[in-house]
Symmetry: C2
Subunit: 451 residues, 2 copies
Amino acid sequence: VSLPGPASAADPNAKDRLGAVGLGLLGLGNVGAAFFEMVFAKAATVAERTGIDLEIVKVGVREPRRKRRETALLGQKLVADPYEVVNDPEVRIVVELIGGVLPAKDLVLAALAAGKPVVTANKELMATCGTELLSVAEKAGVDLLFEASVAGAIPLIRLLKESLAAEQILRISGIVNGTTNYILTRMSEEGLSYKEALAAAQRLGYAEADPSADVAGLDAAAKAAILAGIAFDADVSTSDVFCEGITAISPSDIKFAHKLGYEVKLLAVAEQLGTTEESPISVRVHPAMLPASHPLASVREALNAVFVEGEAAGEMMVYGRGAGGLPTASAVLGDVIEAAHHLREETRARPTRRKARTIEKMSRLSCQYYLSIEVTDRPGVLAAVAGVFGEHGVSIRSMEQVGLGSEARLVFVTHTAREDDVQATVARLEELDSVERVGCLLRLIGEEDRR
Amino acid sequence: VSLPGPASAADPNAKDRLGAVGLGLLGLGNVGAAFFEMVFAKAATVAERTGIDLEIVKVGVREPRRKRRETALLGQKLVADPYEVVNDPEVRIVVELIGGVLPAKDLVLAALAAGKPVVTANKELMATCGTELLSVAEKAGVDLLFEASVAGAIPLIRLLKESLAAEQILRISGIVNGTTNYILTRMSEEGLSYKEALAAAQRLGYAEADPSADVAGLDAAAKAAILAGIAFDADVSTSDVFCEGITAISPSDIKFAHKLGYEVKLLAVAEQLGTTEESPISVRVHPAMLPASHPLASVREALNAVFVEGEAAGEMMVYGRGAGGLPTASAVLGDVIEAAHHLREETRARPTRRKARTIEKMSRLSCQYYLSIEVTDRPGVLAAVAGVFGEHGVSIRSMEQVGLGSEARLVFVTHTAREDDVQATVARLEELDSVERVGCLLRLIGEEDRR
């Protein structure tokens, strides 16, 4: 389908045109279909605004003969072989929206090798082999743009890479998974249990039938890897990211957090631990207790937000819809227009040069901790438990008993302690007869910066 | 001063270098000095990251002989004649940080005519003659970048122009003046009067001795004009912006807003009134009542935030430090790196094509209104006042009397009404014997989108 642009004869901008820019689309799922519709609806506007005529030349889908909304418009342009899309000489830009590492990686490599810019929304791909692909793109002198791979429509990549090009990023803390934020919001505002809130999220389509990638923090970990890579020019992949999910959090943990003036959020954190650009970095995902006055604390429902601390720019936050077909397609189209602009100008996006940076082990980090310990309510329990903290050099800031009898729990907030000392404390506590379970461990974050 | 980059002989990136990029700096005030220091401190890092060596070649200041921190480093490079900076053949990029329309405009025009990209943080200039300057830059094929002219380090221009290139922007609502947001925060949180809060802001350096440009909304109006221009490709200047300040707001207005579940903020709003890109737009600055759950409502102190509503991307907000030497200098340096990258690649930023758009008169807009009316507390007052509303077709949603005797005020919230009807109501009310003054008029905003 050749999408209409303004008639070029009468058009004063015609001199700027490089003719229609052929797009090859891989995948016609949620994001792919939204992208297709958006190109169809917006091509004339885009042409008028930017002088760039976009045209979808070929679309690779698993079952090209299956009846779909787009069939009438695409017809013969729907093909089963994705390489037919990549290798079509009329395809100038490849838009990869199939997701997953393989075959996406091979397709992207083939496109780059053919000198074709690639726009992708593929989080797994960029989190797993982003450094390799960016290096291939750089050597080929071709764009590889991936704004839509993190936080949907929120323009984080461009923010970090361009607007803050001169900025030393100190820390990025983000709510980058809508499913878990929705669950935590319901737990926080309505006192639902984790299971009830998960069921509500599933009913509304915010969580999948198998929610494990979201609730275990793996989706957030992939995004943390991508963000850390951009913020610190570092080679970080998902496997480098320490990751804890939200399944152990109970309504009473959240109630206790509120009492202390905190909110509980699943955070993806990437930070530089020292003062120089050679310092180690930390990349991690875990539930955290944030002061209620922190801008991230008021991010509700399935929304995403990323808080950036820069040396000169100070604190900054971007907030918006982190997922969904339309917002993600909007980010993809923004990248496609950039790639087309670069084709016209015979240039490319700024090169990305990554270096190996030391990623500090979680065990060596320090912060304050909240621990909830289910105990048998009998004399001497507190002394035994407190003794374990003492043995491991973990100093207690506050303690409270919640509930009675078989429901009794001891809730501790520590002073700043090292992760390995706290983990050793937890392991030893679990061996005590009087301790039934260490229920939940939350790290306190953002304390130092807040009033 | 030639700032050090990594030794180029041994540097694998050396092939990408175009040699040092000479910068000509106009102005060494708050932002200029911070920019100078940042280039000095960061040049090596920037060179390593981007392959671009920045070098400050010449600096134009009013009194080059005055002793300043930078004298030792700059020496002979400090000159009194700004054209000496612009015309220096070694100056490849002109960084305009003097502020005000003249002589800045002539200097920018001279630089563009000489084919030199310009980076500016000059809000007045871009709000007054942005369309003209961008058109000159476009014809000359030269960059004119102005990220720092609105909201300091918050990367709004790049967000609107690039990330949301394909997006139909529906509305932008922003807290873009730190001084007034600081004053309103103190009034809201501590019940201070406007005068007390202004004095506090002046003590802390958030407000100037003559605060009129801030408190009357003029600073915000200039930023609204720039944002509307970018968001709607429209030719908008400060004089097109309806503007009301915060001086009439009393602590009791804010208390009343809280009671209704609102917060009071000075907003800059740019919105498209119809559904197409030919529809009229509205650009205005006024105090507004926002639902407490609106993300803008929790933006405190001197911080800035801009809430963007896009057709596909949905709601989005960026938040950060909107002023100050360092954050602004960081945004300037981001633009300088972009301009230098374009010089190296022999390309330029995406062209901006503006068109005339109808800017709707304020009098024709409709919303709900809050009005506070100081009255003489005697029988029949309410009937007289309510009668005036009725005569003008303004329907009342709620009314309450606050205070007694000479302190009595009637507080109204209307149903949706037209601005001209409300203004006619106010004019007629002020003629009534029993009305001493119409104290404060606040427009309700963001209602429709919130739960």
